[in-house]
């Protein structure tokens, strides 16, 4: 079947939703923008999730594809986008922002990520990547007058542009080596080295997006400069998109090259993972800003996830990405839930998102507080939350694949990192020094419904994923 409407319709629905949200924006009064548009956008997201139920395993013009693992991640992306809408609505309504474009931008970015997720062609992937990136640049700089925001977007845009070029250059080399932009194309005789050069450039272009070391330098500043709710959305979906694309590329390395270079590829992945985990775990410890803590946690988790590329046994050329996708899914849900919850507590212009200033906030808002704790526990890998299952499966896989040293160091460092999640969780429920004036927003309650619903959904889905891991762990 050359064209499959069902498989494509989620993307189409989201794109229509984006257009509708943007078109609605000038038609509404400033005061009602944040009351109305988010619900429209959110319902388009829910609508987009429906066709996935009926998706079939098929290709579209050999540009996009669909399989159960991708569908799983797509659900994660849609959930993150849903929660992101709630968070952004709350933030914007709190600040009485006059613009309502953010929702449309968010939907556009989500569309891009879904395209990245499903692509099986470098050009399709590139289009998805750019479609995901540009709206996010705009979202990061949503506070136009904030200096940190400007710095963040400047850094992100410049380095993002450079790495887009790097990626594209890699694609052109691959095209030169294979005569096609399709992922799984045959390398022409005598052009292996060209292919390898192209492949490595593509690899690092995607690792940049995923925020893995050594190309992680933008992560901390961008996460800190953006509004917390945008950080939440971006941290989850961009990582899913980039790593899903990376893994599709990874699965289609031509066998001629794979046979010759197994060991070097293994070393590259191992060292990327190793540096990411170490940098992430140790830099996070000294931070006070929660966004910064979670930024370094993002770097560390990127390290864990790329380890999934080597499972179950890369040196024998058997790769199965179930554990990695499970990890990615739980990470995306947990980080979007935790950061969106923090954005609920972070006050005017997100100025109060330090460990000291959210003290005791969870006590006055137990629903959001407890959900944040569930998400943090998942990030820390403490049972009974899904993050534990994800880590368990990933690390037991590493042991079976004989990567003992990596697994032991990685796990021990993840305990170091668990300390900073526990610290956030503790602070949320510590007795506050400023207990009374906690949440005096001029936000009407109705503007936080989506956020509360979304955060609760993340916590619930993390619990469900741990009780019934078979949903997320496709073996």
């Amino acid at each position: 079947m050359p064209f499959n409407f069902i498989n494509l319709s989620p993307v189409v629905i989201l794109a229509i939703g984006a257009i509708v949200s943007i078109v609605l924006e000038p038609l509404l009064k400033n005061t009602s923008k944040h009351r109305f548009i988010p619900w429209v956008s959110a319902s388009f997201i829910v609508l987009a999730a429906v066709p996935y139920l009926f998706a079939v395993q098929a290709d579209i013009h050999s540009l996009f594809t669909m399989n159960p693992l991708q569908r799983l991640l797509a659900y994660g992306v849609l959930l993150s986008a849903f929660v992101g809408i709630g968070g952004i609505q709350f933030t914007l309504a709190k600040e009485q922002s006059r613009g309502g474009e953010a929702y449309g931008l968010l939907l556009l970015a989500t569309t891009g990520v879904l395209l990245m997720l499903h692509s099986m062609d470098y050009l399709a992937l590139f289009i998805g990547m750019e479609l995901a990136s540009f709206p996010i640049y705009a979202l990061v700089a949503y506070r136009r007058k904030s200096q940190e925001g400007n710095e963040a977007v400047f850094k992100y845009f410049l380095s993002g542009a450079v790495f887009s070029v790097v990626f594209l250059y890699g694609v052109s080399l691959i095209y030169g080596a294979t005569g096609s932009t399709h992922f799984a194309s045959v390398v022409l005789e005598g052009r292996e080295n060209l292919y390898i050069a192209g492949f490595l450039l593509v690899l690092f272009g995607l690792l940049f997006k995923a925020g893995a070391a050594p190309v992680h330098y933008w992560v901390a500043d961008v996460y800190t400069g953006a509004p917390v709710s945008v950080t939440a959305f971006m941290a989850a979906v961009v990582k899913v998109g980039a790593l899903a694309a990376l893994s599709s590329v990874w699965l289609t390395i031509p066998s001629t090259m794979l046979l010759k270079h197994t060991q070097s590829l293994e070393i590259i992945i191992l060292s990327v993972a190793f540096i990411s985990i170490i940098i992430g775990a140790l830099s996070g410890l000294a931070q006070k800003s929660i966004r910064r803590i979670l930024a370094f946690s993002a770097v560390m988790n990127a390290g864990f996830m790329v380890l999934g590329l080597l499972l179950p046994n890369f040196s024998n050329h058997s790769v199965h990405l179930g554990p990695m996708y499970f990890f990615l899914l739980t990470y995306a849900i947990a980080s979007v839930g935790a950061l969106t919850g923090i954005s609920y507590f972070s006050g005017e212009n997100d100025e109060k998102e330090n460990l000291d200033s959210i003290r005791g906030m969870g006590r006055t808002n137990p629903l959001v507080g407890m959900s944040v704790i569930v998400c943090l526990a998942s990030l820390a890998g403490i049972p009974p939350v899904a993050g534990f299952m994800a880590k368990f499966v990933l690390f037991s896989g590493l042991f079976s694949a004989q990567y003992h040293a990596v697994a032991i160091t990685g796990f021990l460092l993840s305990i170091v990192a668990a300390v900073y999640y526990i610290r956030i969780a503790y602070v949320l429920f510590a007795s506050g020094q400023q207990p009374k004036e906690t949440l005096k927003h001029n936000t009407p309650d109705s503007r936080s419904y989506l956020l509360k619903l979304g955060v609760l959904l993340t916590a619930l889905s993390l619990l469900i994923l741990s009780v019934i891991p078979k949903i997320g762990l496709i073996v």
């Binding site: 499972l311 179950p312 046994n313 199965h320 179930g322 554990p323 006590r363 137990p366 704790i373 526990a377 403490i382 049972p383 009974p384 534990f388 299952m389 368990f392 499966v393 690390f395 037991s396 896989g397 590493l398 042991f399 079976s400 694949a401 003992h404 697994a407 032991i408 796990f411 021990l412 305990i415 668990a418 300390v419 526990i422 610290r423 969780a425 503790y426 429920f429 510590a430 891991p469 078979k470 762990l473 073996v475």
Partner: protein, 504 residues
Amino acid sequence: MLLHLLVLAPFVSALLMLASSGFDSKSTARLAIFFGILISALSVLSIVLGPQSTEAIEWFRLPGTSVPIFYSLASHGINSWLVFISSFVSLVALIAAKDSFGLHYKNFSMGVFALMGAMNGSFLATDAVLFFFFFEAMVLPAALLIAAYGGADRKRAAMDFAIYTLVGSAPMLLALWYMLSLSSGASVIELALVAQNLPSSTKTLLGFSFMLAFLVKTPLFPFHGWQAKAYAEAPSPLSAVLTGAMSKVGVFGFIYWLLPVFDLSASIQNKVLFLSLFTALYGALVAMRESDAKKLLAFSSMSHLGLVVAVVFTGSTTMLSTVLILMVAHALSSSALFVLTGVAERFSGSRKLQEMGGYASKNGVFGFLFVFAGVASLAVPGTIGFVGELMALISFWEFWPTLVLVVGLCMIFSVVYTLRFVQAVVFGPLKKSKTPCQRLSVSDALAVGSLLLLIILWGLQPNWISKSLQNPVEITTQNSLQELESEEAVLAEPIQVEVSQDAF
């Protein structure tokens, strides 16, 4: 079905408590206590019905090795009693917290139910991964409850507790991963088979990794850093649960997950035995000098549990029944003492012994209960503790008579610190109190009274407990039997052989 209920009902209760009113703490408390009674009744039922197991449901499958991980539970003599302890002590905590928690009661009860479910799960699990899942799941509710409702230094206490237990169980998880990469499953038998085929140095290393988790949880000597602080800072009803029930998970781990899986060499077992005895002495000595009432109880717990673990490693023929009776005795008396100390703390507004005293003159019931609980923890004849310690002495005598001296010394020390403690709190001139100490609430009295009643009851009829251990041997231990018959273990110390023949 019953076993599923024992694990799931606490979690369901926690969820149902979420829906209860946060403002009407009276009716919330009634609801929580009702659930607590139901679950305790179920646990009694599981003791009465004897060993049973559930069908194994595949939980998930490890992709690397295709090892299936099962959700399967089984009860045998010892763990159905431990489930009873955890359910009952949690019930007592729920009752005792009724008056002191006010608006926070709802959250407290949710935490206690979650903790109870995790404890029951780790007692009943037959799959190592499931066991570990529940074992770690205890950390979160306990740490949150300490951090939220503890005393002045609760932050440090909660963090220490969380970090100690997480770090302590990390090697166990690593070892488990390593063994799963070689194994076809995660039950005791399959893990033991894996361990059997490993070189002995690897096996010892893995055994130590498992052991560390239990050493921290129990805790034994060098790993007890979290304990005194956590027990002291936690609200008293929670301390009762922590010492009465949670510490038993560590001991249970030694019996069920360490000894049958790794046939540790005799010299290692002896070293652990001496470490536990040293812990018993050390705990008793520190308790004698301690001036903080709850820390005193914490160290006394440490001393008692040191003795329990020591008995585990004597390899005596009556090891299981001795250990079980000692654990039941300790759970009942120590949680009674913690609840009562919580009341005394409310009277005086401080945990310092110097600021307590003379409550018997104002409040006879409190005085009576306190003296009773204190005496019960001394193992006076007629209480269950006496039976346990007598059996323990016999075990040590069989092992090495000199040890009895050390153990006797511990017991004498325990008399000293307990009587000093009772004297300081109950007798002497009445210290000025923060709240009038005339009334001991009915619920507190009931909670403690039921514990003390059980102490006497089983003190007179200890074979009700030991009888439940004489059920047919279950499969898990047969394997270790075969293992041991072959090797030099016969020469050394036939612990598991004895266990499987006699006790189950």
